[in-house]
């Protein structure tokens, strides 16, 4: 987690976006040979595992060296009552450059807010009062709501049926990687594509 946070900080100046990626949710160089889109649900335990255990390693080994462009996408599942609300807050926070912090705290405290529904209390902890006011307003902004829905629609168009799912794109090839992944296998896949 600490490494992930450090990497995010290092990469903040490098934040960039592909044609349709929210710049606040994209990490690394958009000209990287591989793009990974992570479709996740803040209330999904496997997504928490991916975010906290696998993505920091992807950041260290591939995003920071410029080999992978990492894009976060929202895919709140209907079975999770608070995940769309969380996705809206996170997307709103991305407009202020606070997506990494909000995503970290949402996953870290997933069990608590997933049980009591206090999503905002969790989000507000990592924002200043001024930021919190803006995020609350932005979370209801039609542009933010439609961005979340666009991610969901993109996921459905890619036939995603579970979270987390990573869409690994290399040239014209796109490979969905669903569920909790073994990092050794993911590394082998990425290294194979980079050869």
């Amino acid at each position: 987690m600490k490494l992930f946070a450090l990497a995010l900080t290092v990469l903040l100046p490098c934040l960039a976006a592909s044609s349709d990626a929210d710049p606040g949710k994209a990490l690394g160089s958009p000209s990287a040979p591989i793009q990974i889109e992570v479709f996740s649900d803040f209330e999904c335990p496997a997504c928490k595992g991916l975010h906290e255990q696998i993505l920091p390693l992807v950041m260290r080994d591939y995003v920071i060296p410029g080999k992978v462009f990492l894009v976060s996408r929202e895919f709140p599942l209907q079975m999770h009552p608070y995940s769309r609300e969380a996705a809206c807050y996170a997307t709103a926070a991305a407009r202020l450059g606070k997506y990494p912090q909000v995503a970290d705290t949402l996953f870290l405290n997933q069990v608590a807010w997933g049980a009591n529904g206090k999503v905002w209390d969790t989000v507000a902890k990592v924002l200043t009062p001024a930021e919190a006011s803006k995020v609350q307003l932005l979370a209801k902004d039609p542009a933010v709501l439609s961005e979340v829905q666009r991610d969901v629609d993109a996921g459905k168009a890619a036939a995603i049926n579970q979270t987390p799912t990573m869409i690994v794109t290399h040239g014209a090839s796109r490979f969905p990687v669903a569920g909790a992944v073994n990092y050794n296998l993911l590394r082998s896949l990425l290294d194979g594509l980079l050869k």
């Binding site: 490979f175 669903a178 569920g179 992944v181 073994n182 296998l185 993911l186 082998s188 194979g192």
Partner: protein, 146 residues
């Protein structure tokens, strides 16, 4: 008038070619993508150690291809139909266990995006019935010949 035994043989032939094609298709969906993706599907079942996951991911699609082609060609039927039945039994047992354990994973049967569900279990159960029937006809044919 066409005899019943000729109709039966024609049906068995059609079933053999179709079920062979299923194995060939299953192999093709795995071989056309990086092997690591199939390895991830196998690993998701949490039944094999890492080294075995790698070994199965690299060899099983080729075995499926060979079995499928041999079934379609009608070569070594007793061996290939028995191997197909045993493989399908193994797949179905693993899928049923994963489903019963509430694991939300891809079955890995025909490439990606095929999560285990009652539908996939029914589909593979039906296929198993077909392979068992082929095995029965190939083995009973041998006994009759003897």
């Amino acid at each position: 008038m066409v005899s019943l035994s000729r109709v039966f043989r024609a049906l068995v032939l059609a079933l053999r070619v179709a079920l062979g094609a299923v194995f060939v298709y299953a192999a093709w969906t795995k071989l056309r993508q990086p092997w690591q993706l199939f390895a991830m599907s196998i690993d998701a079942y949490k039944v094999l150690p890492y080294w075995a996951v790698l070994a199965v991911a690299r060899t099983l699609p080729w075995a499926e291809l060979a079995i499928g082609l041999l079934l379609m060609a009608g070569r070594w039927l007793r061996i290939t139909s028995t191997a197909a039945s045993l493989l399908m039994m193994l797949f179905l047992a693993l899928m049923t266990k994963a489903y019963a354990d509430g694991m939300h994973i891809d079955c890995g049967c025909f490439g990606l995006g095929d999560p285990i569900s009652a539908r996939t279990l029914a589909r593979d159960g039906s296929l198993l019935a077909g392979y068992l029937f082929l095995t029965w006809t190939s083995l009973s044919g041998r006994r009759k010949a003897a």
